[in-house]
């Protein structure tokens, strides 16, 4: 049952992501991405990570994607226009590149000695995760929180009104 659910969720996620990246309208793309992220969150849950799954929903699908949407709507971005010229010229190399990478990745994974290994039943209580975060990884948490602080300051600096003459 779990295994089937995992595959279903996996393909759902890939489909949603594929739809996301092919949209011309950024709003649609973000909506599809949110759907993909939900599927990913459930996969996390199936892999025994309830806390990560919850934060995936709250932080990613909730906060970050809403931020994207907010920016898109604030700037009033129109759907991207189709570029001039024949399609294959633009797509051809790209498809070649992506499919090569994909093939390489899959081959690498299948050649991997770990390929036959199964992921057994696993459940990590949020309590243990929290203890690990604030004991062994306390320094990392501190560093990341500083990074968040700097990012906030950076965002504030970038968001200030432009000096006169630089605005078009």
């Amino acid at each position: 049952m779990t295994t089937a659910l995992f595959y279903i969720l996996g393909f759902t996620m890939l489909a949603a992501t594929l739809l996301c990246i092919t949209r011309r309208n950024p709003v649609h793309a973000v909506i599809y991405l949110v759907a993909g992220l939900f599927a990913l969150a459930l996969m996390f849950y199936l892999l025994g990570a309830p806390l990560v799954a919850a934060w995936q929903v709250i932080v990613y699908a909730g906060a970050i994607m809403v931020l994207f949407l907010f920016i898109i709507m604030m700037l009033g971005l129109a759907p991207q226009e189709v570029p001039e010229g024949p399609g294959w010229q633009r797509w051809g190399p790209l498809v070649l590149l992506s499919s090569s990478i994909m093939i390489c990745t899959v081959l690498l994974i299948l050649q991997d000695p770990l390929a036959g290994k199964q992921i057994g039943d696993f459940y990590l209580a949020p309590q243990i995760l929290g203890e690990a975060l604030f004991s062994r990884y306390a320094l990392a948490v501190e560093i990341v929180s500083f990074q968040l602080l700097f990012a906030t300051i950076g965002a504030y600096m970038l968001g200030r009104p432009l000096p006169k003459g630089e605005d078009q």
């Binding site: 590149l97 390489c104 081959l107 690498l108 050649q111």
Partner: protein, 626 residues
């Protein structure tokens, strides 16, 4: 008292030079002048005060270790010994009088601080040569006097020919310095020390062939500074400098540095008969060459310059004949009488209204202060070697040493010395007659002579006349004081019968008298200068400048031109510019990749990623599924 106080002697002029150099123009003029005089007069006083240190084997004082690297250990050390002490006294004493004279001479010069600081610096450098305990300190002074003489000859550098004369002096003496440098390095390689006394002590252990070469190198070094035969062309042009400079540098002190160097290394040099003969030969040839040139010169200072060259040639002959005492004796008397001659010549030029040409002077005996005539005559008598003057005794001593030398070749040099003495007497009195006798032929009006330009002449004139007393030969009841003072350093002792000595003295007197009579006959009444090829040849110094120009300057210029156009421009610049152009083109090609577009960079990044993955895949396939 402490021996390291001896350092005050050279450092006092240096201190005053530095003060004048830094603050001279901000201080009152009187202060600058007094400071300059104090620098040298103080050194003179200190030399007298410390005289006792020179006795015995002399005193050695180390100020600090200058260089210490492996076996090379050079201290900043002084050696105040029997050879150095009289020289120090002479340098500081004459320099003091010249400084006083210079105050009067330069009283209208605006750039006085530069002048006086260079003069003081020069005295410092000269004292470094005289007092140096090791070759490196000596070399420091050696280069120092070269630099100061360059700065002082070209003192009025706004006139191009003065600046050129300074450059010429600098470059020509530098040629000699190269040889001295080579000798210095070689001596260090052989003996492992730069100390002069240690080198002299080890001289006997150096193989004879090397001693010859080393002595010749030292000789060439000495030739550069002392304006001897191959490297003599700079001295006559050096007269472009102010007259006190000519008196100080080109008469009393710097040109004698070469003689002093050879005397310092006498224990080494005297080991090689070949080198001694070479020294004598150089001296003899220079003496007669310069005397012949002096006969035809028209510029009063150039006459004196050639006479200096000629007299320094006598000193070389003395060293070559093996009598250090004789060389130093002549060096001292020459310093006095040549200083008085130059300083008097400065006064004469002043009196003649800035005119240097002998043939536009005349009648100065009646026109100028008569004291000028008497002091000039005193110097001239010494130069000509009139009996009982200082120059007579010193020159006679040298001729005696040449005559009594065992090697028959030295008789030839003796003969040259006698002929030179004749020429010297002739051109000296030619000078006297042309300047003082007859009617005034010039056009300028006399400048007034300040008091300071007149009285320093008197002590010098008296010293030159009485200079013989320093080393009065036993023949006339003298004590040969200088010879005894030098002790073991004096070189060969001359043992000769009184008959020969009287004969030589008489011959010298006769020769001087003949020179005088010839000049009297020729120049008592004024004659216009001769215009024939011989006089032109002599006037130009045997065309030495043109010869050197052909031999060295032109080939050098041609080579430099070839290096510039042929090598540098074509070969190096061409290849380098070609290289630069190629790399610019390569850069332009690379510039096309650098589009500045984010998408280009991203896809490049993706390609790189793909290559990385492919690499891993390849490794995995090669690994064969283990």
């Amino acid at each position: 008292m402490n021996e390291s106080l001896l350092f005050l002697i050279p450092l006092l002029p240096l201190f005053c030079a530095v003060i004048n150099m830094l603050f001279g123009m901000r201080l009152p003029r009187l202060f600058t002048e007094v400071l300059a005089v104090i620098g040298v007069a103080g050194a003179f006083g200190l030399t007298l005060l410390f005289w006792d240190y020179a006795e015995g084997n002399g005193s050695r004082a180390v100020l600090f270790t200058w260089l210490n690297s492996g076996t090379l250990n050079v201290s900043f050390a002084l050696n105040f010994d029997r050879l150095a002490a009289p020289m120090t006294l002479m340098v500081t004493g004459v320099a003091t009088l010249i400084h006083l004279y210079a105050i009067g001479y330069m009283r209208e010069e605006a750039d006085y601080a530069r002048f006086f600081s260079l003069l003081n610096l020069f005295v410092f450098a000269m004292l470094a040569i005289v007092l140096a305990d090791n070759l490196l300190v000596l070399f420091l002074g050696w280069e120092g006097v070269g630099f100061c003489s360059y700065g002082l000859i070209g003192f009025w550098y706004r006139k191009l020919e003065n600046a050129k004369a300074g450059t010429k002096a600098f470059l020509v003496t530098r040629v000699g310095d190269v040889f001295l440098g080579v000798a210095m390095l070689w001596l260090f390689a052989l003996t492992g020390t730069l100390s002069i006394s240690a080198i002299n002590a080890q001289a006997a252990s150096i193989s004879p062939g090397v001693v010859i070469v080393l002595s010749l190198l030292l000789l060439l070094g000495a030739c550069g500074k002392s304006a001897q035969l191959p490297l003599m062309t700079w001295l006559a042009d050096a007269m472009a400098g102010p007259t006190p400079v000519s008196a100080l540098i080109h008469a009393a002190t710097m040109v004698t540095a070469g003689v002093y160097l050879l005397c310092r290394f006498f224990p080494l040099v005297s080991l090689s008969a070949v080198a001694m003969t070479a020294i004598t030969a150089i001296g003899a040839l220079t003496a007669i060459y310069a005397a012949s040139c002096a006969m035809a010169q028209r510029d009063i200072k150039r006459v004196l310059a050639y006479s200096t060259m000629s007299q320094v040639g006598y000193m070389f002959m003395a060293v070559g004949a093996g009598t250090v005492a004789g060389a130093m004796f002549h060096l001292l008397t020459h310093a006095f009488f040549k200083a008085v001659l130059f300083m008097a010549a400065g006064c004469i030029i002043h009196q003649a209204g800035g005119e240097n040409d002998l043939f536009k002077m005349g009648g100065l005996f009646r026109r100028g202060p008569t004291e000028l005539f008497w002091v000039f005559l005193a110097g001239a008598a010494c130069l000509a070697g009139l009996p009982l003057s200082g120059g007579f005794f010193s020159k006679d001593g040298i001729l005696l040493a040449l005559y009594t030398h065992a090697d028959p070749v030295f008789r030839v040099f003796w003969l040259i010395g006698i002929v030179t003495a004749l020429l010297t007497a002739f051109y000296t009195f030619r000078l006297v007659y042309l300047v003082f006798a007859g009617e005034w032929r010039g056009s300028g009006s006399p400048h007034d002579l300040p008091w300071l330009m007149r009285w320093p002449l008197w002590p010098l004139a008296l010293l030159s006349l009485a200079g013989g007393l320093f080393n009065l030969p036993a023949l006339v009841g003298g004590g040969e004081a200088l010879h005894h003072w030098y002790g073991t350093m004096a070189g060969r002792t001359l043992t000769v019968s009184p008959d020969v000595e009287w004969m030589l003295a008489g011959l010298a007197a006769v020769v001087a008298a003949m020179g005088w009579l010839a000049a009297h006959w020729r120049y008592r009444n004024y004659h216009a200068p001769l215009e024939n090829p011989l006089s032109r040849f002599l006037l130009s110094g045997w065309q030495a400048d043109a010869l050197l120009d052909r031999l060295f300057v032109r080939p050098f210029n041609a080579m430099a031109l070839f290096s510039w156009i042929g090598c540098d421009r074509t070969l190096f610049d061409g290849s380098l510019e070609g290289l630069a152009r190629t790399s610019t083109r390569c850069g332009a090609l690379l510039l096309r990749i650098t589009t500045g577009r984010l998408t280009t960079y991203l896809s490049a990044f993706a390609w790189g990623f793909l290559i990385l993955l492919g690499w891993f895949l390849l490794k995995l396939v090669e690994g064969g599924g283990q």
